[in-house]
């Protein structure tokens, strides 16, 4: 089968209807009124179409000109023949952004069209279907075109805004010099320069949820939700709250062009979860917002400090959700205690302070700047206001990770261990400085407590962005190899699914990629109950979505030309074409005139 290098050459086929029209006009030039039509009908009783065909059939010039048009079309389309030894790799990169859910069918059709167009351009073709999701394996890789088409059904775009370059770079490396890559997306802004792409997007009047917070106040649990109008025109929508099969009355919300509106409400009494629903539009991923009333893990804390310091830590720990301060006599998961210079701390999570320096001791204000290490506990905190006598006498052990330095002495460090058993050592005189009044210190302590709390085994409930990490205690994971199941109920009312978490899942457990409720269980024990929420409002903005086909790049064309050879008879066809045109205008034999 030939392949055509210039599809525009098929426009030459328009010469056929033109030819027919010209001959029809000639044919209609004579009309006669007769009285013996019944005799002719008896002689030539075939249908009118048949008589017309008889006219066409006997017109030599017409058929010669038809042949000339077909020959001209053949030559203009530039037919090429595939070399027997040629091979190509065709890679299709499918955009995994969740915005593609609105155009998924169109994108699949575009991919099928590209596969069909690329088929036959080389003797052997390797098909590779990738998604731009770096965590997903290829949808298909192999020589079977039908299998590649079938694999398109498995494509589920779920990601938020992400970098497409790694997937495209991988595609280009797979293709090499023989083949082509296609990026199937919905907007030109996502396409790197010189990348062959097909876009199937179009502007959609989308209004969707852009974020949510669930907060506890004096009256109970409430929620605040942002609704974004992603269009350049005012929009009106209705919204309602669904909980346990019941639905509240629909309320209207009117949004100006591009406006962001906050909705607020309270969880019904006793309700642990619910769904906020916006009147659906063409992009449904951001029209349903599942929400969960957060329930943190429990953490017991014992404070072995006296006086002002004790009251400070009491107040600080009581302000962290899930933390319960118990007496020092009981076994608390987190201890707040003092440590002597020569003492070895007991194992377990702890916040350790140096023993108090006697009031009589000489104290000098340290003026050296406090420098923070690169660590999440101290990230973005301002320590310039910390005043005090500097480092105390506690000694850092091997493996301890400093967090703060003043001069050449560490002020704060972390003792290594599993998350639930880490120790934070505050190596400065707490009472002699302004640490208890410095926001950075309070935040550091709070972050540490929350980290320890998160490392505790047990159940918790929370709201997550779709695809976000779901923290699990290391102890829960260690005890549950092969027993952890994830149950997901889509927000759009789809069927509930349950699957066993693979080792890859457990390496970094993530919330589902689409909105809905999910549960992580270890056997019969619940570990996490969560609400996965549509997270990336940018994906709901379709104002720059468009439809286009960039066409093949110059490299792909060069590779195709290497895999094919031109029609060797082109010059013969050209000569024949000239001959046909001359013959069609040659006098028509006995009639002595030119053919019609």
């Amino acid at each position: 089968m030939p392949v055509f290098s210039n599809l525009a050459g098929f426009w030459a086929l328009l010469g056929l209807p033109l030819l027919v029209a010209v001959h029809c006009l000639q044919q209609r030039s004579r009309s006669e009124v007769v009285s013996t039509l019944f005799l002719l009908e008896a002689l030539a009783p075939e249908s009118r179409g048949g008589r017309t065909w008889d006219w066409w059939r006997t017109s030599r010039a017409f058929w010669l000109q038809v042949l000339a048009v077909l020959l001209a079309t053949w030559v203009l389309t530039g037919p090429r023949w595939v070399r027997g030894e040629s091979a190509q790799t065709v890679v299709l990169v499918l955009d995994s952004a969740v915005s593609l859910t609105a155009f998924r069918d169109d994108a699949v059709k575009a991919a099928e069209a590209k596969i069909a167009a690329s088929a036959g351009r080389a003797a052997r073709t390797e098909w590779v279907l990738l998604t731009s999701d770096p965590r997903q394996p290829p949808l298909y890789r192999g020589p079977e075109r039908t299998a590649a088409l079938a694999a398109l059904e498995a494509w589920r775009p779920r990601l938020g805004t992400h970098d497409y370059e790694p997937a495209l770079r991988l595609a280009r490396s797979l293709v090499g010099a023989a083949g082509e890559t296609w990026f199937i997306t919905d907007s030109l802004v996502k396409v790197p320069p010189d990348q062959a792409a097909v876009s199937v997007g179009r502007p959609i009047a989308n209004v969707g949820f852009a974020g949510a917070t669930v907060v506890k106040d004096g009256e109970g649990w409430g929620w605040k939700v942002l609704v974004k109008n992603h269009t350049d025109a005012p929009q009106r929508r209705e919204w309602w709250f669904e909980q346990a099969g019941a639905r509240s009355a629909a309320q209207p919300v009117i949004l100006d062009a591009g406006a962001l509106v906050e909705l607020g409400g309270r969880f019904p009494d006793g309700a642990a979860e619910g769904m906020l629903v916006l009147e659906p539009d063409a992009f449904t991923a951001d029209d349903r917002l599942p929400m969960m009333r957060p329930r943190p893990k429990e953490l017991t804390a014992g404070i072995a400090l006296e006086g002002e310091d004790g009251r400070f830590f009491q107040k600080l720990l009581a302000g962290v959700d899930g933390v319960r301060v118990v007496g020092t006599g009981t076994s608390a998961a987190l201890r707040v205690a003092r440590l002597g210079a020569d003492e070895t701390p007991a194992p377990g999570a702890a916040i350790l302070l140096p023993r108090s320096v006697p009031e009589t001791a000489e104290r000098r204000l340290q003026t050296a700047p406090v420098v923070a290490e690169r660590n999440a506990l101290v990230a973005d905190l301002n320590w310039q206001g910390l005043l005090g006598p500097g480092a105390a006498g506690l000694r850092r052990g091997p493996g301890d990770e400093p967090l703060l330095w003043q001069a050449d002495a560490p002020l704060v460090w972390l003792r290594p261990g599993e998350t639930a058993a880490r120790q934070l050592v505050l190596n400065f005189d707490w009472a002699a400085g302004n640490a208890s009044r410095l926001p950075a210190t309070v935040l550091l302590l709070r972050r540490f407590v929350e980290t320890v709390r998160a490392g505790q085994p047990g159940f918790y409930a929370d709201n997550f962005d779709a695809g976000a990490c779901v923290p699990l205690a290391a102890r829960d994971l260690a005890e549950a190899a092969g027993k952890i199941t994830i149950t997901f109920t889509p927000a759009d009312g789809g069927e509930e699914t349950t699957r066993v978490a693979s080792p890859a899942d457990l390496a970094v457990l993530r919330a589902p990629g689409e909105a809905g409720f999910f549960t992580v269980n270890r056997g019969e024990t619940g570990l996490v109950r969560g609400a996965a929420q549509f997270a990336d409002a940018r994906q709901g903005d379709f104002r720059r979505a468009e439809t286009f086909d960039s066409g093949r790049g110059p490299e792909a064309r060069a590779a195709w030309e290497r895999a094919t050879r031109p029609d060797p008879l082109t010059s013969v066809w050209l000569v024949l074409l000239g001959g046909l045109l001359l013959a069609s205008w040659w006098p028509a034999g006995k009639q002595g005139g030119r053919a019609p």
Binding site: R30, V33, F38
Partner: protein, 291 residues
Amino acid sequence: MTAAPAEILDARRAGLVAAQRYRLPFGRQNWRGQPGGWQGAGIGSSIDFQDHRAYAPGDDPRYIHWSAYARTGQLTMKLYRAEVSPMVDVIADVSGSMTFTSAKVSRLESLLAFCVESADRSGAPVRVHAVNGRQVKMVPVEAVRAGDWRGRIAVTPGPGAAPGALPWRAGAMKIFISDLLYPGDPSGVLAAMAAGGGLSMVLAPALASEAAAPARGNVELVDCESGLKRRQRIDAALAERYREAYARHFALWIEAARRRGVAVARLACEGALVDVLGGEARTSGMVEVNT
């Protein structure tokens, strides 16, 4: 197409001229009808002896053959031939094919004038009808004589079908003026003419141009009666087949007419009527020379 009034007048004048030289064939057979000047088929009061028969009560005693009674003693009646005026029925085909060229219109006009004038000259009562397919309209003879009969009848265009039942009178001289250009079996028309005795004749105006195919090459043919259109490529072979079909069409009419005792004469539309009547019509006895 309609002919100009001057052409109609000329055609009518040609018919009258022809009637001065020729007449309808009244002398060809015995007639029935009103008393007149032509030999009748029945017993009458002319001077031409016909037969004898025995007297029957009620017979006119003026016709008793007294000489025979004297010889035989039996009352015998002398019978004489009747003299009648034959009835003439003229039916003119006014379908589209008879009127779409001025030549045919003129020939129809001249033939109609000839027939009426000839009948008038012979004292024969004449009745004229116009027919177009299934439509038959009575035409006042005075209108024919005045030359404005076309304005007195209203005939709508027909589909070009064969004529329906025609109002022929039994024993009359039946004259059908038609080009016979319609499809179908001629037997129906001819059987109706032949029924009831009398003399039946078909005067068929013929255009020389109709005998050949309409054109050569690719043409759109429009039927003059129904308006139907037909695109046809006419090549030499089809033209030859057309010529043969045209000849066969009239051969069928003539053969069917011969079987029914109906005389058919095809009269060319070209040339003077008096000359045309002197041809086939004269030789086939459809007109007689006035004496």
